[in-house]
């Protein structure tokens, strides 16, 4: 089976090529390329990939099981296989560097891939309906397939450099898809911003990688397996303890984390994600909610052994996560664009995940990634269905009363809302409470307080969204109102599946019920050593049930608050203007930071270079040229003027020669 590992990313890549060719070939025809053909391929390949992943997952399980049973029966101590690996070819081999292009499929990968390909396939299906009337249908599908391929490479890569290939690949697809409707320059700007902000993070990733590589030494191959092994090796503990190496490791992990903040839209590189909503809604669901933006958390878990050795970095991660979660949640309160609300919600939830990772609960963070993928995907797809029904309207102030018109969509979104607010037994309930519990135990009361407050605010803005969209009286324009219709089946099916998922996905790790821990078991061997390193001894805090009660209480408090505030139509319902005042300043806080510290200095320096240094240099060269010309004029005059002068010059030459010849006599 491992021989076919490469097929998992290759199939969507093939889909990209087929759809790309279709798109180009059909670009000259009147109706554009065939949607049926294009859609078929676009969904087929992710689906086959998903099936392949399931099969691989089962194979891995079976292999592990068989080794375990052999060990048990025969009393042996054989190593349990942790991964299926495939090295395809030697990628970069020169000097000290020896990188192979290969994939490694283990528990962590399989969990990630299961929902990436699964949800990915569903969203592709949804896109067929959503994009049906768009001329760029095949192009869209091509990009989506390429994204999926890149994402799979990101997760499946056997080392950080292969991951980086996918890392930038998903960034590219994000760029292409945000700017998908490229006739509007604003979309292009948003896309460019996303790419550039990500590039800042990517540079951090690369530099961090260099430092990391310096720490582990050139003889250690750059694969996750080898790096983890190096950090777990007790022999290296003394090396790590020395001051220089420890500082270097802190810097390395901080830089790697910078990469994660770029991809996962954390402070300070948070600004691009809300703008990224300029892309089509399925893109927001797949890339900017469910999969790509969580790759930062994935990387933290992947390299948990490394991060666990850098306590300062872990502190930074936790605080950055908490700050982002709080900031984004508050920002979400002010937004009127349905997708922007969800975008800030995504940022906030990502903050939760980083908070979890930062306090040393990598598995809880990943669990939230998993549940979040379901409920945020369904929320986005539901929002997409609403936008679709309203003919492109995204302003929640112009919605309302849709619960009767779009019952099916409402049901799906309700499931998503139920999950994200953390009401009991929904997907978010399990993961969020787990995080809160871990934060209290390992991060202290301050972080817990921030997280809890954020949970309240989360419930407020999500409930506001639901009220303004579905429950309040209709404010929809009359012309639009006649055309409101439920989405086609291809959009409905993914909604239902994901809706059900967001209600029940949490049961893969129902912390309160012993035995319901399929999820963390999958990749325990990846993150457990790191977590053990960070957590010393058993923590005796409030009981799990009490904490869950507090969490649910926070959610209910938030919901009630929202009903109190918005049912009466207090703010945000009326008016159509842009944000203003403090709300605007708060929303654009980090944009301003980027402008002041990044963009403006760059602009100034480049302006100085172009408008001052360049002409100056040019002037110097001109001056030199004029000097040469001047000399030329003089020489020309000498040549042209007098016989005697010419003669005098040759005598000068004669004297010079004589001086050289007679230098012994002088």
């Amino acid at each position: 089976m491992e021989r076919f590992l490469w097929l998992v990313p290759a199939l969507p890549a093939l889909g990209f090529i087929i759809n790309g060719v279709l798109s180009l070939a059909g670009s000259r025809t009147a109706n554009g390329p065939s949607r049926g053909l294009s859609g078929f391929f676009a969904v087929l390949f992710p689906l086959v990939s998903f099936i392949l992943v399931v099969k691989l997952h089962l194979d891995l399980q079976a292999a592990q099981e068989s080794v375990r049973s052999i060990n048990q029966n025969l009393g042996l101590n054989l190593a349990v296989p942790t991964s299926i690996t495939q090295e395809l070819w030697s990628w970069i081999a020169t000097g000290d560097i020896n990188l192979s292009f290969g994939f490694a499929f283990d528990g962590l990968t399989s969990v990630m891939l299961l929902f990436i390909t699964g949800i990915g396939a569903l969203i592709h299906l949804y896109s067929i309906g959503y994009m049906a009337h768009d001329r760029g249908f095949a192009r869209f599908m091509a990009y989506m397939n390429l994204f999926l391929a890149s994402m799979i490479v990101l997760v499946l890569g056997n080392g950080p450099v292969v991951t980086f290939l996918g890392w930038e690949g998903v960034g590219l697809c994000s760029y292409l898809l945000i700017g998908f409707w490229h006739h509007d320059n604003a979309n292009g700007d948003a896309a460019r911003k996303a790419f550039l902000v990500n590039r800042v993070g990517d540079l951090g990733f690369l530099l961090g990688l260099f430092l990391l590589w310096q720490i582990v030494g050139a003889s250690t191959p750059l694969t996750y397996e080898a790096i983890s092994a190096w950090f777990r090796d007790p022999a290296n503990a003394t090396t790590l303890a020395t001051g220089g190496v420890a500082a270097m490791l802190t810097l390395a992990t901080l830089l790697l984390f910078l990469g994660c903040t770029g991809k996962s839209a954390q402070i300070p590189l948070v600004t691009w994600l809300p703008d990224a909503m300029a892309g089509p809604t399925p893109v927001s669901a797949l890339i900017h909610a469910a999969t790509m933006v969580t790759s930062g958390v994935f990387l933290l878990a992947r390299m948990s052994d490394v991060f666990a050795h850098a306590p300062i970095t872990m502190q930074v991660i936790a605080w950055v996560g908490a700050a982002t979660a709080a900031w984004a949640a508050i920002t979400g309160l002010f937004q009127n664009d349905i997708k922007k609300i969800l975008a800030y919600s995504t940022v906030s939830q990502l903050g939760f995940m980083f908070l979890a990772a930062g306090v040393g609960a990598f598995d809880s963070g990943l669990f939230h990634v998993f549940t979040h993928a379901f409920f945020k995907a369904v929320l986005f797809l539901g929002a997409g269905a609403v936008i679709h029904a309203l003919g492109g309207e995204q302003d929640v102030r112009k919605m309302g009363g849709l619960v009767k018109k779009l019952p099916l969509t409402f049901a799906a979104m309700f499931a998503g809302w139920y999950a994200i607010t953390g009401l009991p037994l929904g997907a978010g309930f399990w993961s969020k409470d787990l995080i809160l519990e871990k934060v209290l135990a390992q991060g202290g009361p301050v972080l817990y307080g921030i997280a809890l407050a954020t949970a309240v605010v989360t419930a407020v803005y999500m409930t506001r969204l639901m009220i303004l969209t579905f429950w309040s009286p209709s404010r929809v324009d009359h012309e639009v109102e006649h055309h409101i219709h439920e989405a086609p089946l291809s959009m409905q099916v993914p909604l239902w599946i994901l809706g059900i998922g967001s209600l029940f996905a949490g049961f893969v790790w129902a912390g309160m019920m012993p035995g319901w821990d399929w999820f963390p078991r999958q990749f325990a061997y990846v993150v457990q050593p790191a977590q053990d390193l960070l957590v010393h001894g058993e923590h005796h805090g409030p009981s799990v049930l009490l904490l869950a009660g507090v969490g649910v209480g926070a959610a209910i408090a938030g919901i009630l608050l929202a009903f109190g505030l918005f049912k009466a139509g207090r703010f945000g319902e009326h008016g159509t203007g842009e944000l203003s005042g403090a709300a605007r300043a708060w929303t654009l806080l980090w944009d301003h930071v980027h402008t002041v510290f990044g963009i403006v200095p760059t602009r100034i320096v480049s302006w100085i270079l172009d408008k001052i240094c360049q002409p100056l240099l040019n002037g110097i060269v001109r001056l030199l040229a004029y000097l040469v010309e001047l000399v030329g004029l003089v020489v020309q005059w000498l040549q042209r003027s007098r016989l005697r002068v010419n003669l005098a010059m040759s005598v000068f030459g004669l004297v010079a020669v004589l001086i050289i010849l007679a230098r012994d006599l002088l």
Binding site: G20, S23, L24, S27, R28, W89, S90, W91, I92, A93, T94, G95, D96, I97, F101, V161, F164, L165, W167, E168, G169, L172, Y175, G179, H182, H183, D184, N185, N187, G188, D189, A191, R192, F195, L196, R199, V200, D202, L203, L206, L207, F210, L211, Q214, L251, T602, R603, V605, S606, W607, L609, D610, K611, C613, Q614, L617, N618, V621, A625
Partner: protein
Amino acid sequence: MNLHLVLAAPFVAAILGFFLSGTDAKSAQRTSLVLALIIAGISFPLIGAGMIATKAVTWFSVPVVGTEIKWLLTSDGVSAWLVALLAALVPATLLAAPRIVGDRMREFATLVFLMQGCMTGAFLSGDLLMFFGFFEAMLIPSTVLIALFGGRDRRRAAMTFLLFSLAGSAPMFFSIWWIGLSCQTTELSVVATRLTSQLDPVFRPWLFGAIALAFLVKLPVVPFHLWQADAYSEGPAPASALLTGVMAKVGLFGVARILIPLFPVEAARFAGVFVAIGLVTVLVGALLALQQSEIRRVLAFSSLSHLGLGLAALFTFRPEAISGVLLLMVAHGLSAAALFFLAGIAETWTKSSHVDDFGALASRSPLFAVLFSLAALASIGLPGTAGFVAELLLLVSVFKVYGIWVAFAAGITLILSAAYTLRLVQRMLFGAPALPSTERQDLSVSEALGVAPILVALVLFGFYPSPVLKAARADLLTRLPVASAVATEDAAHVAGR
């Protein structure tokens, strides 16, 4: 593989070029294309041939002093790849040219072949003076190309180009003359062994600097870059593609193949200066590119920036830097050439080179848009293209020798290059069309066929760069340890003091 044949082929093609039809541009293009493909067919096998050389023949010997000038062609991994790169770009040039040169295809093709011949000669020369001859000779066809086929300000651009290049290489001639006198020969391999013992250490830095200047101007680097933007933007785009795609590489090639091997001690001694120049070039080039509003000026400064990184990395003397630089030369040669080809074609649609006069090419010319954005992405070093592997290797080598902060400074180019390239892409391909036009203009099949293989190669080398990397390993590494040993010795010496 007969190296003489490889060298002679372009010149023969240039001579045959005189007999092409002067009136029927299409037939001239077809015939020259066949010739170019034949040359490519002759040149490509060099890659697999490894290190080969012809028998050294005494070309002439200087009277009185008795210095022997050899006629000797050598090919190693690096030169083989560069010759192949050149041979691959020439057919694409001919395919991309018709819209720009119009009826004068015959003259264009002849000049291009001449340029190819001179550059091939420079890559294959095994003798310093021979190299210098070809190095200077390539100026003639390229200047004529700019002056004949360029834009409004072509004459000034051609003159600037010529004067800068001549001024840069004049000291090199002096240096070669001195080396020839001291070593009694100008054969590269012999000079390399004799130079350290035969030359007064007081003069060596000057000779080193004189040779370095020629290559730095050719490359170019800040502050010798003033000719570049003018030449690339005023010259005919296909020729600019060759200028940046291959001729600029002669500079890097010279540094790697001549400067460092001949003067390992000086190279090690002044490595810091060159790294600094390289980094300044990287950043200044990128920042200047941000300010430009003409397509080809953006591309010119982008070339400046990318090649600066190559220079900086070369002077780390790391083996991965050598491989990386070769890959950078190939990757940048391909991607920059593709961008120039496409930019040239697009400029014929709007009759303008200003970015604001474009827009919405993505919907009007989808094929163009796909190829252009692919080339742009390759040029910013997106993983999966050859540029990424190259930049990764270069950054690694800079990091290893100069540490994280220098690597960070060099790495800023990753962000800046994305900034200016994507800005260009957006202004050209996206948004609303600047000039109302109903007709759908797109690339012709032959133009697309010229550019597409370049992009395929870029992606191929992005995933499987080993052939290129291995080629560099085969050759220059033999001399590198000398330089790095001296560098460490120097460092120890300094530390000891």
